[in-house]
Every structure is written in C-alpha cells, then in structure tokens.
C-alpha cells in the first residue's frame, strides 16, 4: 500500500492502495465513480476508458502509479444531467443507447479523438472507434451522435 495522489475531473484525491492496482478499481471503488466500467479487464472492449493527457486510455490495464499526478477525466467530468456536454447531448438527442453500459467508452473515445482531430472525416471517426464494443449494437445511432457532435463543433 502507498499513498497516491490523483486529479480526477479537476478534484484532487489521495488514495492508499497497492500502486499496481489498475486505475479502474481506484476510480470505481475508492472514488465511487459510476462512469468507468469493468467490461473485460483485458483492454479489449473500451468500457473502462478514461482520458489522461488528452489520450483515451483503458483504465482496466493501467496501474494507478503510472497516472499519479496526471489529470484524469472520466465521463462524469464532461457534463451533468442538467448541463450535458455537447457530445453527451448528441447522444441524448439521437437516443443512442440501449442498456447504456458501453456509453462511457464510446463517448470518451470519441471525445479524445475529436479533441485532437476536430476536422476528422466520417471514415476517420469510424476508424477511431476500433476496439470499442457495444454488444447491444446501437452502433448506427452512436456513430450518428458522434458525427453530429463533430459537425456542431466544426460549425
């Protein structure tokens, strides 16, 4: 066990954990966040995605010590129910969800990609979603929501 400092969604925390613990467990158990999810624990599905240093990373395989001191953004950090982030709002407007379990990964992957590539074409957006799963297969609506946001951002 050791004390590790984290900045999550702009707030600072110090947690006392085994430094090898994957970040996901720290976020969901120690900090009790509901956004990041365990889907596979194997970096294969995207459910655990968070944004660190502008990159979408898979927190299920990221030891917490490697992100000590870094700014971490989870899906809770984008917007709220009353004031959703425009990307979150696009998902609401497109009703782009079924069970919603994958949304964390889908939204944060799209966010990180579009932050760095605001002029991305539709094909580039689709390619950027490789390795992100939705087993309810709400693919069509989700891609529509992401592209809608990309257009709004560009406009």
């Amino acid at each position: 066990m050791s004390a590790i400092s984290l900045t999550v969604n702009g707030r600072s925390y110090t947690v006392d954990v085994d430094p090898a613990t994957p970040l996901l467990y720290v976020l969901s158990d120690e900090l009790q966040l509901r956004g990041p999810k365990f889907g596979c624990g194997l970096a294969q599905c995207g459910a655990c995605t968070v944004i660190v240093r502008g990159q979408a990373i898979r927190s299920c395989v990221t030891p917490v010590r490697t992100v000590a001191g870094a700014d971490i953004t989870t899906v809770e950090g984008l917007g709220t129910i009353d004031h959703p982030h425009p990307l979150q709002r696009a998902f609401i407007e497109e009703q782009a969800a079924q069970c919603g379990f994958c949304l964390n990964g889908v939204i944060l992957n799209a966010k990180a990609f579009l932050d760095r590539n605001p002029k991305a074409t539709d094909e580039q957006i689709e390619r950027a979603m490789a390795g992100v799963l939705c087993r309810c297969f709400a693919n069509v609506r989700m891609l529509r929501a992401i592209k809608r946001y990309a257009r709004e951002m560009g406009a």
Binding site: R34, C99, G100, R135, N139, V140, L143
Partner: protein, 790 residues
C-alpha cells in the same frame, strides 16, 4: 436514473407513504397492510415443514396481482406511482410503461413514478423475457388493466364529488372537471390521495382508445439516457452498500471437473484477504478490495479431477443426431411421406446453426447482503421474483426472508450470468456475514454461461410440377442443459450446480406425443408456409396442409439457455433459407414465391411492405452475371411471425461478397415490423436496429468454440464480434402500426430474420448456398471454391 428509479441508498424512489410502509414491514413474515400507504404487500404465513424444499408460491409471496393497489398508488399531491414486475433491460420498457401509466391515468409523464421489480414491493410477473412484456402489460391485464381500473374509479369518485354523471366529466393533467364547466374540478390527490383504492382489477374497465392517446404511441425519450451518458446512472455494477467486500470465484478448469483440494496456504497473508470459501465444488474468495480479490483468486491453488471430455466440435451436428432424445411434434398431418412420394420432385437440405454466446458488454455482477436469517440481493436478473426462491434454496433460508431488488445490468439478451452471479454473491456474503459484491471476470462469464443453442435441421419437401410446395417435412436436433432457474431449479446454472443442485431433469421420450389442442409454435419449428392444423383448426400462416414438424431435444455437453430469439432464430434460418432454395429451383422471385405459400394477411403485408421499401428487384435468384472474382452484390429476404403469434417481421438484406477473400459486407437492411399498436415509435426503431445488427454480427462472425475439455471462446479475441469501427449496414425500419390489434413483442423479431436474409443475399450475389452459420470469410471462400465450373 436517480430521480425516478433509484437513489444513492439503493432504495427505489417511493412515495412517502410507501416508504414508511415498507420500512415498517422490512421483509418480515407479517402480512403487511399497515399505514395509509396505497400498497398491499402480503407475505406468506404458511408454516414450512422443517427440511422440506421451499414450495414455490409465487402469487402468495408477491403483491396480489388482482388488486389495483398492488399496481397503482396516488399520493396526496396527485402524483401517480406504479409498480411493475417487468424490468428495463435496455429495451426501453421502463419508459414505455411510464407512458402507459401517464396515458391511462391522464397525467403528465413527469408526475409518474415507476418502481420496477423488487420482491418486497412489486407484483410477481415471473420473468421479463421472450418479448412477453409488451403483450402482458400493455393489453387487458396486469399493469394496463390496473391503470384503466384506477382511472374509472377516479371518475366515479369525481362524479360523486361534483354531482355530475361520469359521461359529463373530462380528465386532464391529473384533474377531473365538468366537460362544460372546467371550473368545476377536483384533483386526483383530493379524491384518493394517500388512501388505497381497495378494489380488484376490473376486467371490464376500458383502455383509453388509440385515437385519444397523447403520450403512449409517441417517441418519449428514454428516461435513463441522460443519467447514462453522464455517468450518473446506477447499474447493478455501481450499487454500493456500506461495509461491502469484494468476491471472486474459481470455476473448474474443465467441463465436469470436480474439486479435489484447495490449498489455503497458497494465499495466506495476501493483502486484503478475508476468506476462502468452499462449498462442494464451489470455490470463491472474499477480499477487502476488488483488485485484491482478483489477485487472491489467481493465486489460490486448487486441484480438480479431469473433466468429462467434450465431443469434437467439427462433428457436433452428427453428435447431436446420435443422442437419446425427447421428441416433440408441433404438427403431423400423417400424410407427409405419401405426399412426398407422389410429388413431382423431392428436395432436401440440412442446416446447422452453432452454439452462440450472450457475451454481455459488462460481465455479470451482483451485490448480496446476507445476514443470519435474511438476505437482500441486488441483481440484474430477468426474473426478480423467481430468483428470490432459488437464492433462498441456495442459502437455506425461507423465501420470505429473501428480498431481491432489480438493478439494470448490461444488456443480457437472455440467460447471461445474472442469476449465477447472484448465487455467487449470496454464497460469499453468507460465508463472511457481510455484504459482498461480485463481478465476474470475462473468462468466467464466457466459459460458463448458458449458451445459445445449436440446431441441426433436416428440411424436406415434395413439389408439384410448377415448383409449388405440396408437403413439408421438418426434423431437428437441438441440445439442452439447464436454463433459467425459474422458481425451483438453481442447478440450471453453473453456481447452483457447483453447490450440489441438479439441473432440470432430462427425460428421453420417443415417439413424440401427438399434438393436441391448438397449434403451439413458440419455437417457430413449424415453417411460415404450412397450415399448422392441429385439432381440426389451422393456426399456421401458410397453405401447405401436408406437414410434419418433429424436434429431438438432446442432452447438451454445455449449459444452455435463452439467447435473444432462442430456437426461433435458428429455425427461421433453416426455413427461410430453404424457402429461398425452393424459389430458386422454381426460378421464381423469392418474395413472390413466398407470397404464393402464405395465407396470413399480416405476414403477407409485412413482406410486401419491406419489399416495397427496399425497392426490391423482382427476379429469381441468383443474379446471373457469371463473374467469379471481385465484388458480387445481392439481396435476400426473410420473414417470420415470431413465436407463431407474437409479432411480424420481414427483412431485406443487401450484401457485397468479396469473391477473392470470402468477406461479406452487409450494406443495407430494411426491416418491417408489426407488433400491434406502437407504444413508442423511436424506441421500437431502436430495438429493430439493434436486433438487426446483433443478428448480422451473429450470422457473420459469432460462434462459441471449445476443445476436448473446455470452452475456448472466453474473451473478445477468441470470440469475434463487430466493434464500433466495423462496417455496419444502413438500417431502415418500416413500422406498421395496428391501433386495434393486441400488443405483441418487439425485441426479438428483427434479429430472427437476419441470418436467413443475409444467407439468401449471399446466394443471390454468388450462387453459393451457405447452410451453416456463421458465414465467416473462410467458410464463404471454401463454398465459392467448390462452385461447379459452368
């Protein structure tokens, strides 16, 4: 969704009265009727004989289904709370049920609170599955009828209060007023607020007519989505209970292996370890933190006997044919052999559909708080009330001392690990006397779930000289082991079996008993084109009167269970591909050939509507441009009356096949659906789209695999599926609204026709008939290479 279904404490949002009443009752045995809360929850007071198995008494333990107060409560401020035993599973049912209540009681949806699936509060409606929720709760019983009864009761009360006959009153926004003088009015809260209706469901109470609907039938946005996209939604995976510990399980290394030893010394002193738990063949560990539990489970040394050995996967179809079977006949006109012998031609083909995997996005999770003589389980089960009984059996508690609270999990599509992980959490919590959360590891979920069933189907028809079908002979083999635990069979899933419960008994039965009563086609074993004549009545959708439909159910080497459109998808694949072969043989257009053999007007219309919307290119298949390399494009069609009575769908799929690689790309899917009156058009579209895509992924990629001892498709490398980067088809849905028909299911119809429509499109494009799913590039390429040189 915090504000409507859940709060941080894990309690459902209740009216104040209901909350007080519930706190007063706890989960005690007492009949609970106290306070002014408008709900009645009765608990069984029948004494149990010591040692006797728990008697399933579903209707005694839950809220009484025939009383309005079990379903509807009106608070003093005029808000309406409804209680339902059918749960949200990602299919949009929560919102649709809110719409139903708002509509029937004529209140804005913002004034409706819906409480779903909690054994202490809601009526027992069995399992949320099989596309049965829309028929059960949106027609003339249960929730819909309770709401209609409550509205009529409010009108009678208002009539007395205002001194006007009921037919001179109008309801609006929770207020009833004189139609000609809106100032004479009284609110629902004043009429019954905080008191019970104390009346039974009235089967004569009339539903509000479709023409009057303002909320139901419209695309009300899903209630949960804002909380979901912002990471605020409480899934079962994010339920937190004070003092909660974390568990993991250690499953056998091979199918059928028995535990011979556990070396606790191998984990002694590990950080956070609370306990190693062993019960018969069940092994689990409890630790303070989730990561610690995973570490301990990995390190723990266990020894096992070798497994029972598994049949060769390549020969599974032959294996299934050779097993002892339980036979069932859906129809038998007794003249099939004679008709086929006398026919101008006989055509046969065999189809195979593999075992498939639910593969939920999140692995299954449950939280259990088991104290000495009582237990609370937060579970994503589709069967909240039944689970209460089987958890009780697993824990050795009376069912009335077990409360199961539903919380949404990730999409389950059937029997994923939701029930089994509820037992895991319950057993571990009981062993440590503290609340325990278990979320399975991916491999434990995928190697031990109740897989979607394989099917081998032999099809045979006799044709006349024009290629019309005179007789249809269907014979199939399909495996079974376990399934939904229901009210009494925890051994139907892995954890129950590991602690010593038997799965549902398999009894061979040959020959099959004669079909009696009326046509029952729940598995869609009878093809759409037969007349389905049983007991002098023809309940099928087609015209072929010489018909035999025989299924052999055999023991499965693996656990099996419902997977979205169980049996119906597999059978529809065999029927609709075979029908396509027959159309091609008759050089007939596949849509026209189907219509020649269909009698049911709604199925005919679903088929015609999809053909029209898809701008169907009317001609025989295959397309004959004769090119054997490069990209070949084609279109295919398929249709179904789901379960023989529960919703119509037809699909046109357009594909491109790369004849050099064997890769199939589905470019477009057009789907028609007729599920009676539409409750929420956009929600229905969402179901149609998701079903079509899931069906396509299953048809093209997905197959559960195994070696000679164990399942080998255990993660997203070993089980292929589409990602969000995959080239998915454009989907267009054609919604056929039937305001006056009964409400049917909608969640499983579009997936049912996908595999057949795609296989038929591949045939149209290439002339190659794929009779085995999935249509992987390797399989397509091999079939292309085997094409005769013309």
């Amino acid at each position: 969704m915090k504000s409507r279904s859940a709060t941080d404490t894990g309690e459902p949002a209740l009216t104040t009265d209901a909350r007080e009443a519930l706190e007063g009752a706890g989960i005690s045995r007492r009949d609970f009727l106290k306070g002014s809360g408008a709900l009645i929850v009765t608990f069984s007071v029948a004494p149990r004989v010591a040692g006797a198995p728990a008697q399933p008494s579903p209707l005694v333990l839950g809220a009484a289904r025939d009383r309005v107060d079990s379903w509807i409560a009106v608070t003093e401020d005029g808000r309406v709370t409804a209680y339902t035993g059918k749960s949200e599973l990602g299919q949009g049912l929560f919102t649709a049920q809110m719409q139903l209540i708002a509509e029937e009681l004529v209140v804005p949806i913002s004034r409706v609170t819906l409480v779903q699936c909690d054994t202490a509060i809601t009526p027992d409606q069995g399992t949320t599955s099989g596309s049965q929720s829309h028929p059960e709760n949106f027609n003339h019983s249960n929730l819909a009828q309770a709401a209609a009864t409550a509205r009529e009761a409010l009108f009678r009360l208002a009539s007395a209060r205002l001194g006007l006959p009921v037919d001179q009153l109008t309801a609006r926004d929770g207020t009833i007023s004189a139609t000609t003088d809106p100032a004479r009015r009284v609110g629902y809260g004043e009429l019954v607020g905080g008191r019970k209706f104390d009346i039974p469901l009235d089967e004569r109470a009339t539903r509000r007519p479709r023409s009057a609907w303002t909320v139901l039938g419209t695309s009300v946005p899903r209630a949960e989505i804002p909380a979901m996209v912002t990471g605020q939604f409480e899934f079962v995976h994010t339920v937190r209970v004070p003092g909660m510990l974390h568990g993991q399980v250690i499953r056998p290394p091979e199918v059928g292996a028995k535990l011979t030893g556990v070396d606790e010394g191998s984990v002694r002193g590990m950080a956070g370890l609370v306990k190693v738990v062993v019960k018969k063949d069940f092994v689990g560990v409890v630790a303070e933190k989730p990561w610690q539990a995973i570490q301990v489970a990995r390190r723990l040394k266990t020894t096992w006997t070798s497994g029972v050995g598994l049949p060769d996967q390549a020969g599974i179809a032959e294996y299934l044919r050779k097993q002892e079977s339980r036979d069932s006949l859906v129809v038998d006109s007794k003249d099939v052999d004679a008709t086929i012998t006398g026919a101008a031609a006989e055509v046969k083909a065999t189809y195979f559909y593999p075992y498939q995997v639910h593969g939920s996005m999140g692995t299954s999770c449950a939280v259990a708080d088991v104290q000495r003589d009582r237990a609370t389980i937060w579970s994503a089960t589709q069967a909240t009330h039944p689970l209460r009984h089987t958890v009780a059996a697993v824990l050795g508690l009376p069912p009335e001392n077990v409360r199961v609270i539903f919380r949404l999990g990730s999409g389950c599509y059937g029997v994923n690990g939701a029930d089994t992980v509820s037992y895991d959490a319950a057993l571990l919590s009981q062993a440590v006397g503290k609340p325990v959360r278990v979320q399975l590891l991916r491999k434990d979920e995928m190697a031990w779930e109740n897989f979607g069933i394989a099917y081998v189907v032999d099809q045979r028809v006799g044709l006349d000289a024009e290629g019309n079908i005179l007789a249809w002979d269907y014979e199939a083999w399909t495996p079974t082991l376990g399934g939904r635990p229901g009210y009494r069979t925890p051994g139907n899933v892995i954890t129950g079996s590991l602690v010593g419960f038997e799965p549902e008994e398999f009894t061979p039965l040959t020959p099959a008993p004669e079909p009696t009563g009326r046509l029952r086609n729940r598995s869609n074993a009878a093809p759409p084109y037969v007349a389905g004549c049983v007991g002098g009545q023809c309940g099928g959708t087609g015209i072929v009167k010489s018909e035999r439909v025989l299924t052999h159910t055999v023991r499965s080497p693996f656990w099996t269970g419902s997977l979205r459109s169980p049996a119906r998808l597999q059978n529809t694949f065999a029927h609709e591909c075979f029908m396509d072969e027959l159309a091609a043989r008759a050089k007939a257009d596949p849509v026209a050939y189907r219509l020649r053999h269909l009698s049911d007007p709604r199925l005919r219309e679903a088929l015609a509507a999809v053909a029209k919307a898809a701008n169907w290119d009317s001609r025989p298949s295959p397309r004959t441009d004769g090119r054997r390399t490069g990209i070949a494009a084609g279109r295919g069609v398929a249709c179904v009356l789901y379960e023989g009575e529960n919703g119509y769908s037809a699909m046109v799929a357009e594909v491109e096949v790369d004849q050099d690689t064997g890769a199939t790309t589905v470019k477009r899917m057009v789907v028609s659906i007729d599920c009676g009156p539409i409750s929420n058009p956009n929600g229905l579209k969402n179901q149609v789209e998701g079903g079509a895509l899931q069906g396509a992924s299953r048809a093209l990629l997905e197959e559960m695999t195994w070696d000679d001892t164990k399942v080998t498709s255990i993660d997203w490398r070993t089980l292929k599926t589409w990602s969000l980067a995959s080239a998915v088809p454009a989907i267009e849905s054609v919604l056929i609204d039937r305001p006056d028909a009964e409400a049917n299911g909608a969640g499983e119809t579009s997936i049912t026709v996908a595999a057949a429509a795609i296989a038929n499109a591949i045939f149209d494009a290439t002339g190659v008939r794929l009779r085995q799913a999935p249509f992987t590039p390797e399989r397509v390429k091999a079939a292309l290479a085997a094409r005769p040189v013309t």
